[in-house]
Symmetry: C2
């Protein structure tokens, strides 16, 4: 423990992708990290990989990150509050229940909006949270100093902190994460139910459908606990989606084309206002490049960008509703747009550029 004497100290409980990345990120700025996992093999592996400095629970750590599945957070955080003198924070995707059950001055609820792919500690990366949104949900019982410390530590990992009440956080993630997942599963189930038509269906399922159902391929085991913890908000949003679908259906049944068009235009405008990147858009531009022959085009465009030294901050492919071909959308430095335009022109691509303000 001598080695740790001059270092800031943190515990990480739960060494999956998120916990491992927090540990690595803090270690890379000089912290001494003690970690544990319900699977002792995972903790041993984390030590071997240099993700943590020691296995166990350090009672003198100034902060403990609880990175357990949502259904185990209250138990693990209560244990940490009892056995350490420091601040305790968590990374669960539902906050209301946890924050009301853990009404301790030393507890600060948190939720990094970063990859929850089930890659485990092997996928952990120190830079995981750079540019990611990290929600903190301090409540009345929270010690303002504890909140400030968590905020500073989280920002030192490169994250962008957003403060929300636990209830508002839960309502928002129901809209942007939980209910979309259920909806993707519902669409995919409808397709699967038509099993006699499955072969033909699969051949018609193009880019748009693949985009919409992709998240349904993720691990289902995490969802029952999330849906249970965030029941109120999820049920409310599911009912809203159902009402909205029924409203669109009624326009169609009544052949009310103007009503349908107005609704779709509202959605279109909202979607166009959705930023194409979590990156702060200062000095950036969005370049749209129609790519009819997609696979070769992505390699060609990104290779060109690399050769020209144009940094691609984000990339997405806007599929059309039908067919595979679409538009490649790049978020790049505004300074890079002219060289890229000239280079693409020579390769026969058309490009349209919008500055992001």
């Amino acid at each position: 423990m001598d080695l740790a004497s001059d270092k800031r100290r943190a515990n990480v409980l739960g060494l999956g992708l998120i916990g491992g990345s927090i540990a690595l990120g803090l270690r890379s700025s000089g912290w001494f990290i003690t970690g544990s996992d319900t699977d002792a093999g995972v903790a041993a592996r984390a030590l071997e990989l240099g993700v943590i400095d020691a296995v166990g629970l350090d009672p003198h750590s100034e902060i403990t990150f609880v990175c357990a599945p949502v259904q185990h957070i209250v138990e693990a955080a209560t244990m940490a509050l009892s056995n350490t003198s420091g601040i305790v924070t968590d990374v669960g995707s539902v906050k209301s229940s946890v924050c009301s059950e853990l009404a301790d001055p030393r507890f600060v609820g948190g939720h990094p909006m970063a990859g929850s792919e089930q890659l485990g500690v092997e996928g952990a990366r120190a830079e995981m949270f750079e540019g990611a949104v990290w929600v903190l949900t301090p409540v009345e019982s929270t010690d303002p100093d504890a909140h400030r410390v968590v905020r500073t530590v989280v920002r030192s990992l490169g994250a962008d902190v957003v403060e929300l009440s636990p209830e508002r956080h839960d309502g928002l993630v129901a809209v942007v994460s939980h209910v979309p997942h259920l909806t993707a599963a519902a669409l995919m189930s409808i397709a699967a139910q038509r099993s006699d038509e499955h072969a033909a269906l699969l051949r018609l399922a193009a880019g748009g459908f693949r985009d919409m159902t992709r998240i349904a391929a993720g691990t289902p085991t995490i969802w029952p606990a999330i849906c249970s913890e965030n029941r109120t908000a999820i049920v409310e949003v599911v009912d809203q989606v159902v009402s909205e679908l029924e409203r669109l259906r009624d326009f169609i049944l009544a052949d009310d084309r103007n009503g349908l068009l107005a609704s779709l235009e509202t959605a279109q405008e909202a979607r166009r206002n959705l930023p194409s990147s979590a990156v702060q858009p200062e000095g950036l531009a969005e370049a749209r490049i129609p790519i009819l022959d997609r696979p070769g085009a992505i390699a060609e465009v990104s290779t060109l960008a690399a050769e020209l030294g144009v940094n691609i901050f984000d990339l997405e492919i806007a599929h059309s509703s039908e067919g595979d071909r679409g538009v490649l959308i790049l978020v790049i430095d505004r300074d890079g747009t002219e060289p890229l335009r000239q280079g693409l022109d020579q390769l026969g691509y058309r490009i349209s550029v919008t500055a992001l303000s």
Copy 2:
């Protein structure tokens, strides 16, 4: 017209992206193409761009492609049947109503599942349909010879022909295209309705939500006519999605975690069985590469593939439900997997490969 005397001749009515690409594709294999558009400026531009050989309607063309918006197909096809002696086919995304109203031996319904991005004739490309699925919907009244000719011509454009009854086609596109579009719009509208929370919502909306709502950014004007023409199938599928969402909601309300899990597992399995590419998977493999820092990674991986001569047939990014970072999925030649694995290993990426059979 002397120039055309030794060439096969086709008409293309409607010179948008699809019509223009059909014209270019046929011209590139030696056809003489006469084209028209309700917008005379578009027809003139198509002539100028070399997309068509002449403006007008050639009464002696062996085939006429009707590439008008769905609400104008019957009128345009009827005109073509009256004024030409050849076969008439269309490219509309709804088939039952058109095929029953056009019960003529010389009419063959069709629907290429290829980009419907509103790029216009400027975006037309001869290779647009290479590898795309092109549905044909011959009915009892259709002359088998007319069907065979359309089939051969469409295949000469590189498309993969699938025959379906008009009703089955309409039911399938309702599932894989029309209702997903309405659902994306519904999700986006729910998000937009929470306008007081909009700023915070936007910052939390990560890759999964962006993927699910992306098609809602497409031009809404085409949808009222499509929904009107395909009303029966769309209403049926919307009702199925609503029922499925209500079923999931009821599991959540009853805290029936096993019921919820079973439903999500069914969806997961179905999604995993959805091919990641319309490309025939013979000799191909799917490579999955976790990319936590996405933008740089895509350029790096695709540049490496280009350097190694590994052809990327398809590429998608599997976002996690939360956060931007995910897994890059490439469809490549099976022979390319080992060189790519070695190259990626040196760059510090992990790759897992599944053969597509």
